[in-house]
Symmetry: C2
Subunit: 572 residues, 2 copies
């Protein structure tokens, strides 16, 4: 592509509203332009990269035997009423009425449409397993759209839905998608982790996020340095510490007036936080549960929720603490609680010989409290990990914390939607059973943005070959006819070699062209001016390593083909 | 693709709501399923064909040096207010507010967004010509969505917009698109005509529709059987008949009580319609104009509007006929009209020696009225053609009428949008001039539907090779292991030959499979059962010609490759 015939309007400065690097760089390179908050034009340069992501996704979904279709952007409200989400989804679901006053919404996700389709078109177990996907525009009316394509309102997403006749098959489908996603992000040339994730409100019991590792990521990930196990920090499984038997200490009561926090009690009593037992009063689906963690640890609500098997887990109110825990906020202890109160303690508490905790009356704490002797509890892994904690999966590695950007998310859904929308198949015995489902999403634009977050420097983007809008940026330096002719010939020979070339044939100064090339970040830069012409050599620079070399004209195409063609698909 | 792993749910009968063949056949083959009125899921079989249309469109747009981008589905109302269309567009523009009460609409077309982008990103004539296009979802809230993908509410369209520095260049861009469209529809394997069209309300002065010829088409087209000139019937240029000089007849007045129509006057006076001069009182941008055509002809309003250069052309009211024409509805004549009344007469009137027309008083007509002697008029081509009329372009051919389906439409827009939205560039002299624009649309789904309307029989679709969802439909007849093995081998060898194969490996009866194959309409059907296996031959049928042959296994791939590969691109 000749730059003189292209539209990639570069900017020296990004608008102030752009705070993350990928947003700034997408604006500065002319990949995108904002139309309204969270709504963008994707200009030709940006579209080239998005199409590469799409193509990789499509090829790997097809390889996994998923079938591509498209569902509408505009969805009748009736389907959302059937699933129950019409009232429940919140303001991100943009609702409106058509000219005939029918209820419609812009699809933020397509479980309803696909389940309705499956209900009418999948009739027999013989059609299963089936996995249907689309690459389609979605809309979520985010209250604070930000970060460009990273969290827009209108965005392109690949969403897939698997259908199976039973839970075992559905989990096999789930793992097939796990493998496809792994291939997809490897092929994109990204450093990522498949991270065990909380299933949150979407239901189901199995979920992974695919997180691109980047310091600017919004999500915290714990990665075991030994076995590679990775999980959302809230979910990372910890190695249980050794249980200590009760120490031979007596229980003493201490006056701790107005000292309702761990910090203030420690200061007052002159002890360390890890000598305390922190007591957290929670309500799980309306039932009280007292959670204990070591004083310097934090409770993981997702772990506790999963352990209890409850949907709604919230802190107890002061009134509930009085009525159901028979205690006082800031001064709760596990000892002598009502017999029907469920007490869950983290393994870290089991490893304490004794501890300091609340006395269940205002302004008093007790010391020397021992598990087994003074209180009973169910011990489990219910705390948040901290860096260097032991990995619960391999039992011997330690966790390192990383930041990640979620680019893909897979869920085993079970029968939540199929039951609500009556999507059944006949099984081998001719009995109607609800379809077992999974859903699987990849943000196309977000993947491109994450690639930039992961790989850029102060001059611009550093594209991995598989996602680069162009593989080679050829710069013509100077306007002399001989230079132009030689550059034109190099351009044609690079194209003939099957490479994707952006040819800067504009009448601009060399410095301007070099800056644009660094900014746009094609993997290879080739420059030729009068000096090079006289020497019979072009300058070739690798954007990633910064390595420069001068190369005879005749060697250029075979060298670049040798570097670029194998790099297009890191899996080959 | 193995049919056992595919989702193409065929139906014996189409729902009653589907009245046109393409809608029925798209439903029956399982290409589409309705989600709401005018809103569809495109299932895998349908998507394969739509993607082929898209690919052809994209390749030819790129070849014409247009640049692909994407603009959003959800458009801020503010841009439509700037262009003036927010108030003007009508109920097809689906408007709504987002969670912050901002005005938005679903884009039915993207002139506003692209002009706004051009205003900020195209700054110099050096960037021109530029043509930007997208293939994107659009929404028009049609009052009566119908005919499946032919006239849906949500649909995929390729829309392109050209930008030039002056009208000459803009017209060159226009003709470049005319050529690209011609290549596109040829490559689709369609019988079509580029038809001169009325520019209607969109403005501009140059427009062509690309009409796929089909008996079921909604549009009437006049095609010259000699020179190939084609136009929307309303616009087709007619050869002027020879002018007759005034006959030596006197004017006689006739009492024609209550006879205000051509038919009733003819009956009353015992004359033929072609002996009458029909007078039509119109208001063009508020000024009266009297249009005359021969009694058996009809006025073409688009021709008259173009001749007068007016935007709004409407019939005069009774009051206006009295005030501005000084006449009476049903009894108007051109003779003795107010001096400032513009009179336009069709050439057909010039060819009449004399005629019968209204007497300008109630219940009276006159006969023997001669042009030149009794009234003056501007003679022009302002009537609607009828079949066998002489072609005005070559002067010697005759028009045949055909029915067409509009699949593409190109417009030279001029500066309508660029002036409203202040989109200017600096010209060679550093002066800001408004961008000259053109816009160019192709309905992707409608093109696929039109292909079906043009090519089907009572058993199903007859796909042209370039748009067929699969090129070969391989049928396994019977369940014997030997037959299965041989069919599997044939399937693999056809795939290895680079052909697109739908392999019916389901455990269904032969009759059922044959019916599905006829319905889906792949260009080539290959069937093998026990008998064929014993004879060492497959049956090969051409869906279009019905030609059958038995062929040795070893000859199949090279035969089909020889037939299909060259047919993929009719332009090569």
């Amino acid at each position: 592509m000749r730059a003189s015939r292209f539209l990639a309007p570069t900017l020296k400065e990004a608008p102030q509203a752009a705070v993350v690097q990928s947003h700034q760089l997408m604006l500065r390179t002319g990949m995108i332009r904002q139309v309204a908050a969270g709504i963008y034009n994707v200009l030709p340069l940006g579209l080239r990269t998005l199409r590469k992501v799409e193509t990789i996704v499509r090829e790997e979904m097809n390889r996994a035997e998923a079938l591509e279709l498209t569902m509408p952007v505009v969805i009748p409200g009736q389907l959302w009423q059937e699933s129950g989400r019409w009232d429940y989804y919140g303001a991100e679901l943009l609702r409106f009425t058509d000219r005939k006053q029918g209820d419609f919404c812009l699809g933020p996700t397509h479980e309803e449409v696909i389940t309705s389709l499956a209900a009418s078109e999948i009739k027999s177990y013989r059609q299963l397993p089936m996995n249907l996907y689309q690459i389609q525009t979605k809309f979520r009316d985010e209250v604070r759209p930000r970060f460009g394509l990273m969290r827009g309102r209108e965005f392109v997403m690949k969403d897939a839905y698997s259908f199976d006749k039973n839970a075992d098959d559905a989990q096999a489908s789930y793992w097939r998608m796990h493998e496809a996603y792994t291939r997809i992000f490897k092929r994109c040339g990204l450093d990522f982790r498949a991270v065990e994730a909380d299933t949150g409100n979407i239901g189901g019991s199995l979920s992974h996020e695919f997180q691109v590792i980047a310091d600017s990521g919004e999500d915290a990930i714990a990665v075991c340095e030994r076995c590679g196990y990775a999980a959302n920090v809230e979910k990372a499984e910890l190695r249980a510490s050794e249980t200590q038997v009760c120490a031979d200490v007596s229980i003493d009561e201490h006056l701790t007036p107005e000292k309702g926090s761990i910090e203030s009690v420690c200061q007052h009593l002159g002890i360390e936080a890890k000598a305390m037992i922190k007591c957290v009063a929670m309500m799980g689906d309306g039932e009280p549960v007292l959670a204990l963690v070591r004083g310097d640890h934090d409770l993981s609500e997702p772990k506790l929720r999963a352990l209890l098997g409850v949907d709604l887990l919230v802190p107890a109110t002061e009134q509930e603490i009085a009525d159901r825990f028979d205690s006082v906020p800031g001064f709760i202890g596990p000892q002598g609680r009502p017999a029907d109160l469920q007490i869950v303690a983290d393994h870290g508490v089991a490893a304490m010989g004794h501890g300091v905790t609340g006395a269940n009356r205002k302004d008093y704490h007790v010391s020397g409290l021992c598990h087994g002797r003074d209180f009973d509890a169910q011990f489990a892994d219910v705390r948040q990990p901290v860096e260097s904690d032991g990995c619960g999966r391999c039992g011997s590695g330690r966790f390192r914390f990383r930041r990640g950007i979620e680019v893909g998310h897979i869920f085993y859904l079970g029968t939540k939607y199929s039951e609500a929308m009556n999507a059944t198949v006949l099984d081998e015995n001719g009995k109607a059973v609800p379809l077992e489902m999974g859903c699987y999403g990849i943000g196309i634009g977000r993947t491109a943005a994450a690639a930039i977050e992961q790989s850029h420097d102060h001059q611009g983007i550093v594209w991995p070959v598989p996602l680069a809008p162009f593989e080679v940026h050829l710069l013509r330096l100077g306007k002399e006819a001989e230079v132009s002719e030689r550059c034109d010939a190099l351009y044609e020979s690079l194209l003939a070699g099957g490479l994707e070339v952006l040819y800067d044939d504009r009448n601009e100064r060399p410095g301007f062209k070099f800056k644009d090339a660094e900014l746009i970040g094609c993997p290879w830069r080739v420059a030729l001016g009068r000096r090079g012409l006289e020497a019979g050599q072009v300058e070739v620079v690798n954007r990633s390593t910064g390595e420069r070399s001068d190369m005879d004209f005749g060697d250029l195409v075979s060298f670049l083909c040798g570097e670029i063609l194998p790099a297009r698909n890191p899996l080959l």
